[in-house]
Amino acid sequence: MMRRVLIALLAGVPFGAGLAHSGMSDPARVRAFLDLFGGAWDPTLAFVMGGAILPMAVAWRIHRRLDSPLADTSFVLPATTGITRSLVGGSVLFGIGWGIAGLCPGPAIADLVIAPVPAAIFVAAMLGGMILHRLLPARPVKRPNLENSHV
């Protein structure tokens, strides 16, 4: 376990360094990227996304040749198919919050050491939102579909 914890830390550090270096941890820059109609669109984040996808694309190719990860017993990966209402609805909500504050989860946490007060306010609210989601029933109760009952 100790070795796996160290590997996770070893991954978290370049992740946080990358967020800080790329401008992703600067809410105003993120909002400038999302601001298509302000006349001063900032393309930096497109480079961040591109730069991050490159090594990951290589990693996915290597993944295909591995039976198990190098330091663990098996790959535990999410499903790739099944576009559900909660996937799209949740992502839309996330995008709205991202647009309002200019922050997504990674940069907000990395910023806890750079701008502790506003970052902590955002992170506390974010945890509140996560808890709220947890408290809601996992699946809405299905009601009989009366609209289609005549078919």
Binding site: A11, G18, H21, M56, T81, S91, F94, I96, F122, L132
Partner: protein, 145 residues
């Protein structure tokens, strides 16, 4: 476009570091480096099981990495909204939405897109579109932070 204020090279190098981190998580531990999921597991909001120490170490690495960057390369610019309401409202929606949508910019946007996962492509298109629309709507309504 605002190429004078843009930092394509820093963006690209920073992005490469983020992707490297994702590659370490995938090839080393067989996991997706998705921050929202890791936060939920590290805090116990989502059941983490044996993943708890791993998720916590990964999350701890984020501020450590940012601090390291600030100490070595130079000051890290962070221009936060001055409105506390924007931080609270944004945070609440981001927290709720990322759990409901099973991921955020890192899990869907970086790890999922590079995997060509249809779910992540749909999620990324959704949050990007919503982000663009939100900022456009705020601009149209004259909301400043």
């Amino acid at each position: 476009m605002n190429w004078t204020g843009a930092m394509p090279l820093a963006g690209l190098t920073g992005g490469l570091l983020i992707g490297l981190a994702g590659a370490i998580m995938l090839l080393g531990l067989g996991r997706i480096a998705g921050v929202s999921g890791m936060v939920a597991r590290a805090t116990g909001i989502a059941p983490g099981g044996t993943l708890w120490p791993i998720a916590s170490a990964f999350i701890l690495g984020l501020p450590l990495g940012a601090l390291l960057m600030a100490l070595t390369v130079g000051p890290v610019t962070t221009r936060f909204p001055t409105s506390i309401a924007a931080l609270v409202l944004g945070g609440l929606i981001v927290g709720f939405g990322t759990r409901m949508g099973s991921g955020c910019t890192s899990g869907h946007g970086v790890c999922g897109l590079s995997r060509l996962s249809p779910r992540s492509i749909a999620a990324t298109a959704s949050f990007m579109a919503a982000g663009f629309a939100t900022v456009a709507a705020m601009r149209a309504l004259g909301v400043t932070l």
